[in-house]
């Protein structure tokens, strides 16, 4: 069945079953591989995207549930104010190791910052709990979110 979804401001028509998780539509049908597969059960957060600005696990989001909503992925998160700040903080703090989970980490962190410009440690725990990192970059993720929250976003 054909669905039209809006990804990063662009409309795409895809012909898949309605229960197909968005993750596979993005990765395998549209070829947008920045969003990662980790568990398929919303246990690790590697597949996190924004749906109307809300951090959402694309591996358990059926394509027929999206409708007119706007999907934002890691490929375009830098175009949002919060996303750009988070990406810069990730670079400044050298958060990344293997990097595989970091698309999802950045999507969760960007959604947090967009809705809560000055998150506390507890806010960070709540927003980032669902994103696992096997390399163990958690200490730097926390620091980077705080750095992004403090930045004005003007320094480029």
């Amino acid at each position: 069945m054909a669905f039209t979804i809006k990804v990063n401001g662009q409309k795409h028509s895809v012909d898949v079953d309605g229960d197909t998780p968005l993750l596979w539509v993005l990765r395998d049908v549209l070829g947008m591989t920045g969003t990662k597969f980790g568990c398929g059960m919303a246990l690790c957060g590697a597949c996190t995207v924004h749906i109307d600005g809300v951090a959402t696990r694309s591996c358990v989001t059926p394509v027929d549930s999206i409708g007119e909503s706007q999907i934002t992925t890691i490929e375009a998160i830098g175009a949002t104010k919060a996303g750009a700040k988070i990406q810069k903080a990730w670079l400044d703090n050298e958060v990344v190791q293997c990097g595989y989970c970091q698309s999802g980490q950045i999507m969760s962190a960007s959604a947090l910052l967009a809705s809560n410009p000055h998150p506390t440690d507890s806010d960070i725990d709540d927003a980032m709990f669902g994103n696992t990192c096997r390399c163990g970059t958690y200490v730097r993720i926390r620091e980077a979110i705080k750095r992004a929250a403090q930045s004005t976003g003007q320094e480029g």
């Binding site: 596979w24 990662k36 293997c98 989970c101 990192c133 096997r134």
Partner: protein, 731 residues
């Protein structure tokens, strides 16, 4: 684990340079220096004319550096990037001597070629593992850079008709200071290619380093924060289909019957591939492949291991340790000293099977054509991946092209090629390229696991409570016996005993025995440090037990045994000081310490844990002090310790793979848990300045947590993972 003393594997007959379409002419020769140390020499190009004929205007003095006429500098990475920072640290070593900035280089994954890219510390296998990359690269990569720099300077001197000594390289240019003339490397590339290769080159003095020792920014970060980094799982050759698979849930089992009618009816499913011990569903996308897999009805013949349990394996290991085994180390006379010791302490330790659970699930993309095969994968052993693909495809090696990728977590899992062979077996039945992606469940249940180990350990103490005899016997799988058979000798291998022998402590009588017992029906493999992940937990827990028996402070007790190991003593003292060792803590909060010397690196950790009334353990803070010799990039060293600490805590609190009816009971991150951000401690890392040879940083785990739990509760945990029930506060 340094395998520099293990005989270098002879190159396979088909493992030729032309097999990979390379024009590389020089290669590294590794030789074993006395004492297992590393000695390398850079072989010289056979003839300079050869390269010019192949690539006019391109300067390619060795297998790691290529400078094009337009000035593009391409570095070929002999070790892979899986998060540990090799794609920054290795370029730093080359760029330091080549006198270029990191922003001037482009990186390429090395193709499979063990002659050019074999790891001298892993017996010439083209492998990234065992924390060997920086120790192995330290000399040869700087040599490679210095050779290129020297030849570029010579080319400039010749063109200007001046003394080469009056020319200096800097920032990608050669300068002639007396006249102010300068030429960019690109302008010199063609001339440099015809310059004689210097027999020796002078390496920079450490005080002249511009890059080495600085926290230079990682080169792989920008692509990893915007989704453009390409991992193996992101490979998309034109027309690729996606497959997922079910392998026999019991290792060694087979497909008995299969009904695929419902699976074939799933929209987007193209094909079902039935193998002897696995079934794959090939589809347009992973969503359809997974749906198809769920619709399959497969009856399995479990085979000989269909009744296997973890308890059975543990019992077998326990039985094995009742008899003596091959002696890994013997100092003095343990038996006699034990008899006259004032006190004797005995304990049994056990560590479980562990899965790697890399965030990037196992995957491999393959296109089998009539007379060739192409593979896209992220591998720690790309030459072995090529060989495995050739074998599975039934093709000569030179007909198999393999593309390596960034790796979404290795930890030893991608030192194995089972996933490559499996993907080729499937691809042989598929017309066109197919990407085989394992579900997380398949990844956890068909891993190759960190072995289960069973340890008996005892010590005799003198009247002051200090150890005079140390007797350690353990049983478990030898990974090296399978992975690198020449490294397994007389029943022993240097990995399984790493961290159990050559202890940092001064002990007058020591006996360490290892019994190789391969568990039936469960494959084992390297897992971030392997030997030490087990041995350091046992030995550092047991030293802690001895200190407690002697009623002495855990740090002071260790210090008293470290007079002959000043670097170990220094990191211990630094970690203890920075952690506030000895300062009072609330009830059910405790500090624990561990010290280790593995992979050429000294590391002391102090963990501070809090144990709730119901036994839940929270690690609040970890302070580390590390002496890894010369530091190439302190930021990466720090990140490696942070990562290893999280990895270690994850294992200590949650890590356990168990078998029932021959099947792995854990399946996804709900049953095989990862530590989460809310559970992550504050981590401080203090680096000791050193000019000693660089050690490895990838695998310094933690055993301080169990000792901290003892300090907090008085309960000694001798079996991992932590059992919260055992830590409940009595009502």
């Amino acid at each position: 684990m340094n395998l520099g003393h293990v005989a270098r594997r002879p190159a396979e007959p088909q493992d030729t340079e032309s097999a990979n379409g390379l024009s590389r002419r020089s290669f590294l020769q590794a030789g074993a220096a006395a004492g297992g140390g590393l000695m390398l020499s850079l072989s010289l190009p056979l003839s300079s004319g050869e390269a010019e004929a192949a690539d006019a205007g391109v300067f390619e003095p060795n297998a790691f550096i290529r400078i094009d006429g337009d000035g593009q500098i391409v570095l070929t990475m002999p070790y892979v990037e899986m998060g540990q920072g090799d794609y920054t640290a290795i370029p730093m070593l080359i760029a330091e001597e080549l006198e270029v900035g990191l922003n001037q280089v482009r990186l390429e994954h090395a193709p499979p070629n063990e002659k050019l890219y074999g790891n001298p510390l892993l017996a010439g296998v083209q492998a990234t593992g065992g924390s060997t990359a920086i120790p192995a690269a330290w000399e040869p990569m700087r040599q490679a850079g210095a050779t290129a720099r020297t030849m570029l300077a010579s080319a400039a001197a010749k063109r200007w008709n001046v003394d080469p000594k009056s020319c200096r390289a800097y920032g990608g240019e050669v300068l002639h200071a007396p006249t102010g003339r300068r030429l960019r490397y690109g302008e010199l590339a063609a001339d440099a290619a015809s310059m004689p290769v210097p027999a020796t080159v002078v390496l920079k003095r450490p005080e002249d380093f511009n890059l080495i020792g600085t926290p230079a920014k990682r080169l792989d970060t920008p692509a990893k924060v915007n989704g453009s980094a390409v991992y193996g799982i992101d490979a998309r050759p034109l027309g690729v289909k996606i497959a997922t698979l079910a392998q026999s849930p019991v290792f060694g089992g087979r497909v008995k019957t299969m009904d695929d009618a419902a699976a074939k009816a799933v929209n987007g499913v193209r094909q079902i591939v039935r193998l002897d011990d696995a079934v794959a569903v090939v589809a347009d996308h992973m969503g359809a492949a997974k749906k198809g897999l769920a619709a399959l009805t497969i009856e399995w013949d479990g085979g000989p291991h269909a009744q296997l349990t973890t308890a059975e394996i543990a019992s077998e290991l326990e039985r094995a340790t009742l008899e003596s085994g091959p002696v890994a180390q013997n100092i003095g006379d343990v038996g006699k000293t034990m008899e006259i010791a004032v006190a004797k302490v005995e304990a049994i330790y056990q560590v479980p099977f562990l899965a790697h659970a890399t965030m990037e699930p196992m995957n491999c993309t393959v296109h089998v054509r009539e007379d060739s095969c192409e593979v896209w994968v992220g591998s720690q052993v790309i030459a072995r991946a090529q060989a495995a693909a050739a074998k599975a495809a039934g093709l000569p090696l030179e007909k198999v092209v393999v593309h390596n990728h960034l790796i979404g977590g290795g930890f030893g899992r991608r030192l194995e090629i089972d996933g490559v062979a499996r993907a080729v077996e499937i691809a042989k039945h598929v017309d066109g390229p197919v990407k085989v992606v394992w579900t997380r469940e398949e990844d956890i249940q068909h891993d190759m696991y960190r072995p289960y180990f069973f340890d008996r350990i005892s010590a005799g103490l003198d009247e002051k409570g200090m150890p005079v005899a140390w007797n350690h016997r353990f049983a478990g799988s030898s990974i090296l016996a399978r992975w690198l058979p020449p490294a397994f000798n007389n029943g022993l291998d240097p990995d399984t005993t790493d961290g159990a022998i050559d202890l940092i402590y001064t002990l007058p009588n020591v006996r360490v025995e290892y019994l190789r017992v391969e568990p039936p029906g469960i494959p084992t493999a390297f897992w971030r440090s392997v030997g030490p992940s087990h041995n350091v937990f046992v030995t550092e827990s047991f030293i802690d037990e001895l200190a407690a028996t002697a009623k002495q402070d855990a740090v002071a007790y260790r210090q008293a045994l470290l007079d002959k190991s000043p670097r170990a003593k220094a990191v211990l003292e630094l970690a203890a000081e920075k952690a506030g060792w000895g300062q009072p803590l609330p009830e059910r909060v405790g500090r624990g310490v561990s010290v280790q010397f593995v992979f050429g690196t000294y590391l002391a950790l102090v963990a501070e844990v809090e144990v709730s009334k119901d036994g839940a353990v929270r690690v609040r803070r970890v302070v580390g002090a590390v002496d890894c010799g010369v530091v190439v990039n302190p930021n990466i060293v720090q990140a490696q310790v942070e990562g290893a600490v999280i990895f270690g805590i994850t294992a200590a609190l949650y890590g356990e793979i168990t078998l029932k009816d021959g099947r792995v009971e854990q399946a996804n991150f709900d049953t095989y848990q990862m530590l989460r951000i809310s559970e992550a401690p504050a981590i401080e890392v203090h680096i000791v300045q050193s000019s000693e040879s660089p050690g490895g940083m990838g695998e310094a785990g933690t055993s301080a947590v169990a000792n901290a739990i003892f300090a907090a509760t008085g309960k000694r945990l001798r079996k991992m993972p932590v059992d919260a029930n055992a830590l409940k506060q009595p009502a």
